[in-house]
């Protein structure tokens, strides 16, 4: 009886453990939210509003939702949303930088062409 009840106790513990594992306690992700906001600001400074408006909107919406979730004490949800807001902002920033660099390339190449034409016109009038 004693050994049996020990086995039962172990099994009960395992049951309780699995239940706890499914709904672990998460602290409020305040820092993560601040990080996401910083990422958004950085993306905006890089011109993401102009060059990656979709990602920027998604990022801002997720940040707002994360705030709401945190105030409802849905911390896991808040953490996930904040993380997604951050990657969205980072993607927006990367897209903006790429677009800018590509724009610069186009402008430069055009000016090279113009210069070449002008030079040829001068050299062979």
């Amino acid at each position: 009886m004693r050994t049996l009840s020990l086995l039962n106790m172990l099994l009960l513990l395992l049951v309780a453990g699995s239940l706890v594992g499914c709904a672990s306690k998460v602290p409020p992700p305040t820092q993560k939210l601040a990080l996401s906001e910083a990422a958004i600001n950085q993306a905006e400074a890089a011109g993401a509003i102009e060059f990656a408006p979709l990602e920027m909107r998604s990022s801002r919406e997720k940040l707002a939702q994360a705030r709401e979730a945190m105030s409802n004490e849905e911390n896991q949800k808040a953490l996930n949303l904040a993380e997604q807001a951050e990657v969205d902002a980072r993607l927006a920033e990367a897209k903006a930088r790429t677009a800018k660099a590509q724009k610069t390339v186009a402008v430069l190449q055009e000016s090279v062409q113009t210069l070449k034409k002008e030079f040829e016109r001068k050299a062979n009038p």
Binding site: V15, S18, Q84, A94, T98, Q102, T104, L115
Partner: protein, 307 residues
Amino acid sequence: MNRNNRFVCSFALVVLTSVLLASCGPPTKNVDLEKAQASFAAAKMDPVVVKNAALGLQTAETSLQTAESLWKADAKAEEVSHHAYLSLQRTAIAKEIANQKVAEESVEAASSARDRVLLEARTYEADEATKSAELARRRAQEQSTLLAVKTVESQQSAEAALAAEARAKKLEAEVAQLQAIKSERGLVITLGDVLFDTGQAELKGSAMVTISKVANFMRTYPTRTLLVEGFTDSRGSESYNLDLSERRTNSVRSALSASGVDVARIAVRGYGESYSVASNETPVGRQLNRRVEVIISDEEGRIVERR
């Protein structure tokens, strides 16, 4: 509790545990995870991304591994999808970073191409400037040569003008010596009748002074020619007078020829009583009419004939 009961209880607990563990979700298909896996696999195959965004790929891979292990551990689909999403976005970021690097390399290439063209243009302009400076220098040299030539020429022409002036003065002096009168037809020297005996054609010796002066003048100005015209008064017959005037002009020509003037340069005309310059009614007038006029041509040998 009997043995049977104990067994049932134990069995029931085992089943419950298994059911509870499985309740977190069986490993069913997760679309988000599959999407993230496909996207990451594609990025990993792209050499541009591998070369330029290794770190970005690594973070995407970490997220993907988290999603995969959660999925294997039968975590909530929501959690798996979340990490799959993170991986998907991080893969996209890695791709963007690679694109950015490529674009930045193009910026460098284009800007060095631009510098090259600018340098070429500047070199060309400098060459052109050198060329045009050389041209300007040559032109200036030509100008100064031209100026020197012109200076010499103007000096020469000034000298020529001086010489011409001197010649003109000399001519004037010589003309003055000849006691010639300037007329429309040229210089006219009148040999009065005192140089001829009455009714005779021979020149008196006193005429020789004038003749030699004219001969000297003709030697000095070899392009000039002479016209000798003879006139009489109205006494005597017309034919006699005409003959006399002709003879007198011929004797003047002979005298000039004897003094060295080529006869080809001397034309003669006898006009007799014609072209009187004064009245034949008075002795003074008649004396003025008896005369021989020697007309000196211009420098081209032209003499306007009487009409």
